[in-house]
Symmetry: C2
Subunit: 252 residues, 2 copies
């Protein structure tokens, strides 16, 4: 008797999360992580222990409106039912926004072409209860013009070594930043940074450095010098994780 062939499907998920109560994306022993929660939910609906490939390993406290991950399964559950089935088994601070079938060779991490991260600064004297976990408070008024003109020096294909927390395994520190869009609405400043990839803590360190320009402690053109120095100690501080959100991943 011939066995029915069970095709493996490659499911692409778009995932949102409030990272406040998690130790980041990546699975770790005895720690609550986004990846481990989703793996548990997949196990519940498919019965399978799958491999879940995430586009970005977001850190503890970082949020997402656009994380992408994929997994292979032989489960026949209809694609349009996957989000609600997984959401039923996930805590409310992790939600599956969308699921789609993708080609067998799709890999959420390696197929990614561009990623966009958003950093949110609340620029006023007092904290805001409703934004306490999703923004970083800066009490001194910032010069937004200086911030915008400083940011231009970081757009393009550059060596971002000065803006990365050291990582012995990471020899290639050249990355391409396609755009940095900075907007101020009332007392909220958003930094949307799109690039082909980011070094460890790179977005948070870039914004920390632009912040020094906004405070008048650095001139916009100093950012060019910092970049060229390739020395982390010249850049600004790595801002807190809670202001950061992964908002989009682009694929071909």
């Amino acid at each position: 008797m011939k066995k029915a062939k069970i095709d493996s499907r490659n499911i692409k998920l778009t995932i949102e999360y409030d990272g406040t109560n998690y130790c980041g994306w990546q699975i770790q022993k005895h720690k609550a992580t986004i990846q481990s929660e989703i793996l548990k939910a997949i196990k519940k609906i498919t019965g399978e222990n799958v491999i879940l490939r995430g586009a970005s390993r977001t850190d503890s406290g970082v949020h997402s409106l656009g994380q992408v991950a994929n997994f292979k399964t032989t489960s026949r559950i209809p694609i349009e039912k996957i989000p609600s089935a997984l959401n039923a088994h996930l805590p409310s601070d992790i939600t599956i926004k969308n699921a789609e079938e993708s080609s067998d060779d799709f890999d959420a991490q390696f197929s990614a072409k561009l990623k966009t991260y958003r950093y949110v600064i609340l620029n006023r004297k007092t904290p805001c209860a409703l934004m306490r976990n999703t923004s970083y408070l800066v009490k001194t008024p910032l010069n937004i013009k200086n911030i915008i003109s400083a940011a231009q020096y970081l757009v393009g294909k550059k060596d971002f070594r000065a803006f990365a927390t050291k990582n012995k395994n990471k020899k290639n520190t050249i990355r391409y930043i396609k755009s940095i869009s900075i907007k101020k609405k009332n007392d909220i400043i958003t930094f949307d940074i799109e690039g082909n990839g980011f070094l460890y803590n790179m977005v948070r360190t870039i914004v920390g450095t632009l912040l020094l320009c906004g405070l008048g402690k650095l001139k916009p053109q100093d950012v060019k010098k910092i970049l060229e120095s390739r020395d982390r100690k010249n850049a600004g501080q790595t801002l807190p994780a809670k202001g950061l959100c992964l908002i989009n991943i682009k694929y071909n």
Copy 2:
């Protein structure tokens, strides 16, 4: 010897909160409320048991970006230090945005001329982790044109009895709605309703009724009939508290 005269100051606070973990504004025995938390913080910084008058008694789960309250104190603490002093004693989901000296006869509740509430509907198939406590999910696509044309029937000085949860003590059910502004951005629909006052559950019931128009279960002109019926059972459901936020109070 003549005693130094201690003038009483009347302090006006602007207060933001994430109402998720509170049983509303008003102080209640053995329950966590916004008012009780702020009273405790005032006691810590002034040593006084004051009366704190709030402009609106928001319900359990309702948020604020613009609640106003006032209290009288003989404390000499400089006005510009009050927000940070109180915030230091408040949980992070309640924040004092601003404090100012006001005239002796200012009363946050009775001096209020116009109040604006915002209700947020997330109109898409799946819940959103980051908006789980601040929006109400509607999975069926809504007809925004119908919602907007239905809303016009509610603007003006009208008897809103049909949109209020019954309250024996409230005989006058006439209120003035100055404007209803409805905006859709991506899958988020915001309803900003400004009026001179609101009956119990009125905003949540108005939005619940407009929702029926968006779903095609009511025609826009049915809202006029519901209003004129003065009968609560003709209106839509009272939507959940978590989508509601008090955003502004206007005084003369």
